[in-house]
């Protein structure tokens, strides 16, 4: 979507620059704030980054993990204040921008090779 310069200025003010750089295929731990009534706690979601949508302050990314052998995918709004922190556990080597093929794979096939230099 094209945004005017004035809109881009509003959007850039929302960006969080302190978050680490990560790519599709990386394994990340997302510390996500969950608000329950007036209390909030932090929940950790660890998995492989399946896709990233780069759209300024509207950027999102999707993380997939296996929870008791059931695939769980969660899309996070990247610059949301609800993301407490992002840890990059490992860098993966992938040849696609979107790793939707992982959904059809199981076990050993559903792995992503680690990047050696990282």
């Amino acid at each position: 979507m094209n945004t005017s310069l004035k809109l881009a200025e509003i959007e850039s003010a929302q960006l969080r620059s302190e978050l680490p750089e990560f790519r599709v295929g990386d394994t990340v731990r997302i510390h996500y704030k969950i608000v329950e009534g007036d209390k909030d706690r932090i929940q950790v979601f660890q998995g492989i980054v399946l896709k990233r949508r780069r759209a300024g302050s509207r950027s999102t990314f999707t993380v997939r993990k296996l929870s008791f052998n059931i695939g769980v995918e969660r899309t996070f709004v990247q610059h949301s204040p609800r993301i407490d922190k992002i840890e990059v556990v490992s860098h993966g080597v992938v040849r696609r921008a979107k790793l939707f093929y992982l959904r059809d794979l199981k076990g050993k096939k559903a792995r992503v090779r680690d990047r050696k230099d990282a």
């Binding site: 005017s4 509003i10 959007e11 204040p81």
Partner: protein, 226 residues
């Protein structure tokens, strides 16, 4: 008549904002200003009260002499867009010609406002797009009738097509009001007002933002802000 306070502006587009707790607000951004008061209509002189607002610069060579005279009277440069805003006498009393309308005085965050604008013109449009008709089956031998509307009436009784039947025609480019949009944020320095929800028109389209005419009111007629 709607005499609620308001301002004119241009739609910049849509984006989203985060509130501190992480909720996303989907907003339309309007650049409303700097809007200046060009002149006033008063009860004594004109029989009603209104503010005449000017927005954006107009080149002097593009200004006709009668129009230029209005601006010369107020001692300001000519404005491209001039709009008369009917308002209460009390509201008009707070403004003098030459004064710049301040957004933070006009609106409060959380307040409900109405936006009037001109929708994007779609030209001559068929019934499927204009009225969401279903069209016809694509297969089973349908021939040159796939996007038609079907029957438009009966034969002898009444022997004519009834008025206001939904048919193809000009779609869009009409004035539309969207009521009760919440003010999400105000940037008075940059003259920006952000409203939760969509507003009519294209980017750079002119819009009129007014206090909500059907906004819920607390006891005593005062506008509720939440």
């Amino acid at each position: 008549m709607n005499t609620n306070p308001g301002i004119i502006g241009r739609k910049l587009g849509c984006t989203q904002l985060f509130t501190p707790d992480g909720t996303i607000q989907r907003v339309s951004v309007i650049e409303a200003g700097p809007v200046v008061v060009v002149s006033k209509r008063t009860q004594e002189k004109d029989g009603y009260s209104a503010l005449i607002l000017g927005f954006e610069e107009r080149k002097a060579k593009h200004t006709t002499k009668p129009v230029a005279g209005i601006f010369a009277k107020a001692n300001m440069t000519p404005k491209r867009i001039v709009k008369e805003l009917r308002c209460s006498a009390e509201f008009a009393a707070g403004y003098e010609p030459g004064q710049v309308m301040k957004l933070e005085d006009l609106f409060t965050i959380g307040q409900k406002v109405d936006v009037r604008g001109t929708t994007r013109g779609r030209g001559f449009t068929g019934v499927m797009r204009r009225w969401n008709f279903k069209g016809f089956v694509r297969t089973h031998g349908t021939h040159e009738y796939k996007r038609h509307g079907g029957s438009i009436g009966t034969n002898m009784t009444p022997g004519r097509t009834l008025p206001n039947l939904k048919m193809g025609g000009q779609y869009g480019d009409e004035t539309v009001s969207v009521l009760n949009l919440k003010v999400a944020r105000i940037d008075s320095e940059k003259h920006l007002i952000m409203l939760e929800g969509g507003i009519p028109g294209s980017k750079n389209g002119l819009v009129l933002v007014r206090h909500g005419i059907k906004a819920p009111r607390a006891k005593g007629g005062k506008l509720r802000t939440k």
